[in-house]
């Protein structure tokens, strides 16, 4: 099985949604290292993922 097929199986045909998850993880790591309140990190983390969903819905491919 090709790697692209496995990736497509997990993430579907959107490019923005996986990119948003990656951005959310990076932003959360940076915020946690900066010792920001965990509630703010949690809200930002979920917010970035939600933005990724919105981007994926309007993503025309």
């Amino acid at each position: 099985m090709r790697l692209a097929a496995v990736w497509n199986f997990i993430a579907g045909d959107s490019r923005l949604a996986p990119a948003a998850v990656l951005v959310a993880v990076i932003v959360a790591v940076v915020m946690l290292r900066a010792a920001l309140p965990s509630t703010a990190v949690a809200a930002t983390f979920a917010g970035v993922i939600a933005l990724g969903l919105a981007g994926a819905v309007f993503e025309h491919r």
Binding site: I10, G12, S14, L32, S38, A42, F45, L53
Partner: protein, 265 residues
């Protein structure tokens, strides 16, 4: 959902008794795998019924049983294997996989609700499969039918097997809850198929996919966050909060992406 052995106090206020939350999240796990398995089982049932009607019921049943054995082996082998990985790294990986799965399911169902993607038609899929199988040469027909039934059950079930295994990675209890939900859905859909002997076209597949998408994204967000070291306010109680958040976002997106009636016609 954290197992008691891996849970560490973080000082966050727990508003509801922990046992209740574990039970609630157990039901949420079972409910999610029940719905996910239900959707996939309905899609697989359509193909299995087509094989039964076009060729023979014994071939359809054999293909189904072989695929279910392979799926059960995947869950039994990979479920406990995942628990060898340190819990924090595991939560991160499992959380990311669940989030990606969830976003993919949610995106599709939002696009279908908004009229930007066609709803799946089980009757049409059934008719298409029956005509393909009836057109097959007699010498090869049973072999093709067996492979068709096997492949459809295996492919539709693989996604569910991954969800069950990743959910079950948290603890043995979580694996039991998620496997229970999946098994219940498969049994229910199989009974429905036996009783109806026709595709379950009235099952609200898109609504089920929508709910599963929200639950997978919520669990995925929660576990990824835990893997990164985020202390969720209220711990497990933040799971239903995340689910409500993603529900609201999704409903707004359905409304925003909706294609006007004139454009659809």
């Amino acid at each position: 959902m954290r197992s008691p052995a891996t849970r560490s106090p973080r000082g966050a206020a727990v508003l509801v008794p922990r046992g209740f939350l574990c039970l609630m999240n157990g039901w949420a796990l079972a409910g999610t795998t029940f719905l996910a398995s239900g959707v996939e089982a309905v899609e697989a049932l359509t193909i299995v019924l087509a094989v039964g009607v076009a060729r023979s019921w014994s071939v359809a049943l054999r293909g189904t049983v072989y695929a279910l054995i392979v799926l059960a082996l995947i869950v039994v082998l990979f479920g406990p294997l995942l628990r060898l990985v340190p819990i924090e790294q595991l939560k991160l990986v499992v959380g990311i996989v669940l989030t990606l799965f969830g976003l993919s399911w949610l995106r599709k169902s939002i696009l279908r609700y908004a009229g930007r993607k066609a709803l799946r038609n089980e009757d049409a899929a059934f008719a298409r499969e029956v005509s393909v199988l009836r057109a097959a040469e007699d010498a090869q027909a049973d072999k093709i039918a067996l492979i068709t039934a096997f492949k459809s059950v295996l492919l539709e079930g693989l996604e569910v097997a991954i969800i069950v295994v990743t959910f079950g990675a948290a603890s043995t209890l979580a694996l039991r809850w998620s496997a229970l939900g999946a098994a219940a859905a498969v049994v229910l859909v199989a009974m429905l198929g036996l009783a109806l002997k026709q595709p379950a076209s009235r099952v609200p597949e898109n609504t089920m996919k929508f709910v599963v998408g929200i639950m997978l994204t919520s669990f995925g967000t929660f576990w990824t966050g835990e893997g990164l070291g985020i202390a969720w306010l209220g711990e497990d109680f933040s799971l239903p909060v995340l689910a409500v958040f993603y529900l609201v976002v999704s409903l707004v997106l359905v409304a925003a992406a909706r294609v006007p009636r004139q454009a659809r016609a």
